[in-house]
């Protein structure tokens, strides 16, 4: 990649901004990469499927039933995707509230990741809405269903996206070289961070609270009145595992953008994040044990559902927790990555157990996602990665801010 510093970081005070944007919209770098060759056909396929979905109804491409009205798109795209985006509120808490300077180099990329996750995965929600033209009703108008947890979640998604955009906006100002905007937007960061953390606490737990009324439908091993707290606690290590995972990929793929200093710092950041993950996972595991004892579901343990529950708890919570402990004891970057991946799989399994797999577990016709639902999900993920890559290659996210912005 060519050094784009001189091209981007001029102070163009609005004169040639359109030319600049037009030039920036053009693709950079090689086109025929393996990633592009795999992702492009899937994205096109996803687009076709989405057209069919809006033309013929949701049932034309999904396997949803009258018993199971929420499937992969809600359980994975929205509920799991948002848990993975939890890294943004944890890292901004550490950097801006606790003033931990050490993590400053990863704060922008984490916020960007979180923002895009919300835009795309909450955006995927629109595909699942039967009557999307009424989507503004909870926001504008006189149809406020204030007794609904989903009302709260919808508002929080919207407000949190705005808060994250404000948190990220200094990078945009640096990109187009607008000094005044940069100053104003930077001053708003703390407010946005405080607002964002409060919103995250409530909607991470709110996604769990959505299922509180489905008391008779979710398998007893996964239903309890503490779902909201468990969703919140697990979003901490889900988000941080995503930060570790994404960071290790970005450090390779975008290595030309990251300064040597930050590349070295990354190792120590990851090891420190391992400690936080291990602590949060210990708390989570302990709470799970307490809840299990409290609910007295011993008899379920001998069933296949019990085995699945134990697998989730021991293989996908306790094991990665121990691996996180091991990686910071031995300072092993590799083990940290392994632990992060297992933790992420565990989060996917946990969220799907509550929302899809354990939901109507005794239904006559069980739900399995259709290949088309999976294809659309993959298309959404790939589109997000494309946009992520586009932004990383243009804005100072991984690379250092220009000198004028550092003052």
């Amino acid at each position: 990649m060519i050094n784009t510093d001189t091209m981007i970081y001029r102070d163009n005070d609005g004169k040639n901004i359109w030319q600049f944007l037009k030039q920036e919209l053009k693709p950079k770098g090689k086109w025929l990469t393996p990633f592009n060759l795999i992702s492009l056909p899937i994205m096109l396929l996803g687009l076709v499927l989405i057209v069919i979905r809006f033309w013929k109804g949701i049932g034309s491409i999904t396997n949803l039933t009258q018993d199971v009205p929420w499937g992969l798109w809600i359980g994975f795209d929205v509920v799991t995707g948002v848990a993975f985006a939890g890294g943004a509120y944890v890292i901004t808490f550490m950097v801006y509230i606790l003033n931990m300077k050490k993590y400053h180099s990863i704060v922008r990329v984490t916020v960007l990741n979180g923002f895009l996750a919300y835009v795309f995965y909450a955006g995927a929600l629109l595909l699942d809405l039967g009557r999307p033209w009424n989507v503004v009703n909870p926001i504008i108008g006189n149809s406020f269903g204030t007794s609904s947890v989903l009302f709260l979640v919808a508002w929080h998604f919207l407000l949190y996206m705005i808060a994250q955009l404000i948190e990220f906006s200094p990078a945009i100002a640096e990109w187009i070289g607008h000094k005044r905007a940069h100053k104003i937007l930077s001053a708003m960061t703390i407010g946005a961070v405080i607002f964002g953390i409060t919103l995250s606490t409530l909607h991470q737990s709110g996604l769990g609270a959505l299922f509180l009324m489905a008391k008779d439908k979710i398998h007893p091993l996964w239903y309890n009145e503490f779902i909201p707290i468990m969703f919140f606690v697990s979003s901490i290590f889900a988000g941080l595992s995503m930060v570790i995972f994404e960071g290790s990929i970005s450090n390779k793929v975008f290595s030309d953008q990251i300064s040597e200093k930050n590349q070295k710092a990354h190792h120590s950041i990851v090891i420190s994040l391992c400690k936080i993950c291990a602590m949060a996972m210990f708390a989570y595991f302990f709470l799970q044990v307490l809840i299990f004892v409290h609910e007295q579901h011993w008899s379920y343990l001998t069933t296949s559902w019990g085995l699945w529950f134990l697998t989730e708890m021991f293989v996908f919570v306790l094991l990665p927790m121990l691996l996180f402990v091991y990686s910071y004891k031995t300072n092993s970057f590799f083990m940290a990555k392994v632990a992060a991946v297992i933790t992420m799989l565990g989060i996917i399994i946990n969220r799907l157990n509550v929302t899809v797999i354990g939901f109507k577990w005794d239904a006559a016709v069980p739900y399995y996602p259709s290949w088309m639902e999976i294809a659309v999900t993959l298309a959404v993920i790939f589109t997000e990665i494309w946009i992520f890559r586009w932004i990383i290659n243009r804005m100072p996210v991984l690379r250092e801010s220009p000198q004028w912005a550092k003052k």
């Binding site: 509230i97 039967g130 009703n137 989903l150 407000l159 703390i190 409060t198 008391k215």
Partner: protein
């Protein structure tokens, strides 16, 4: 990055906004209106399984007529073209028919779940769906403990389909179509209070025929469809483990915590931020 006057006021503004929004999160509707709800009593000891209610329902709502008949061992399901069905069960007292439709809960989970107030508990008791508000999220289906709302999966303009207790007919002083057309007088329309008394009277007068329980009196906090049966409701495929308190109660605790978090979190975070910033200033001065 410091906290200057401007960002302080911005923060004040944000906190105010969060407070205002936090207050929006009210809990479930109050119980006081439960007194005058209209209701239907279904007496399965009288039902002969003739499906007149199904035909009347289909005709009134412009749905296709049923083509199958109740059959023991087969559970006919409600779907987007059927708002009520009759099923047959082989029980310890012989064949018993059971009608299924929306229970019209006193405190409906579907209405509490609805973020656009499309699912709506009318003052007279019926729970109805308003298409101009609904965004088709199907959270009502997830929340309903009786699995009643159905969705038109194969339509580009899908509707949520369920029994409306013929709310339009009620407004014109008529009976619900199923009640009016029942030849066996298995269905009785009235206020919920009256019908509970009537159900008690029937059980009291004929303890041999009736099983001593009114399903719907307390289920899910009370429903507007009340059931009498000759046998235990377990034998008729009812969910008898259903909780006796209302379903919106389950998410009340979470919703009540929202305003507290919205007040406590920003204050605490701002305090923490200020505290850690002061530390930093001191070390800078020491240098």
């Amino acid at each position: 990055m410091g906290l200057d006057r401007r960002s302080f006021f911005q923060m004040l503004g944000l906190t105010g906004l969060t407070l205002a929004l936090g207050k929006d999160a009210k809990a479930a509707p109050s119980e006081e209106e439960a007194v005058s709800f209209k209701a239907v009593l279904y007496d399965s000891t009288r039902c002969v399984g003739c499906q007149s209610c199904e035909f009347a329902c289909a005709e009134t709502n412009g749905l296709p007529e049923p083509t199958d008949v109740p059959e023991t061992g087969v559970v006919r399901q409600l779907d987007e073209t059927r708002r009520t069905v009759i099923n047959s069960y082989e029980t310890s007292k012989g064949e018993v028919f059971v009608k299924q439709q929306c229970m019209h809960c006193n405190q409906p989970a579907c209405a509490a779940a609805c973020l656009t107030k499309a699912m709506f508990k009318n003052q007279e008791g019926p729970v109805t769906w308003r298409g101009n508000k609904c965004m088709g999220c199907r959270y009502c289906m997830v929340s309903c403990p009786f699995d009643i709302p159905k969705f038109e999966y194969h339509s580009a303009n899908p509707k949520i389909v369920k029994c409306t207790m013929c709310v339009d007919r009620l407004a014109e002083g008529e009976l619900p179509a199923c009640v009016e057309n029942c030849p066996a007088e298995a269905l009785t329309f009235g206020t919920r209070e009256e019908l509970i008394k009537e159900a008690r009277r029937r059980i009291h007068d004929d303890t041999d025929t009736y099983y001593d329980y009114i399903y719907g009196e307390h289920e899910a906090g009370g429903t507007s469809f009340l059931y009498l049966s000759p046998v235990s409701f377990n034998e008729l495929g009812f969910n008898t483990k259903i909780q006796k308190s209302s379903y919106p109660e389950l998410s009340k605790g979470f919703l009540y915590s929202v305003p507290s978090i919205f007040v406590l979190w920003p204050a605490m975070l701002l305090g923490l931020q200020q505290a850690t910033k002061d530390n930093e200033l001191k070390t800078e001065n020491d240098d």
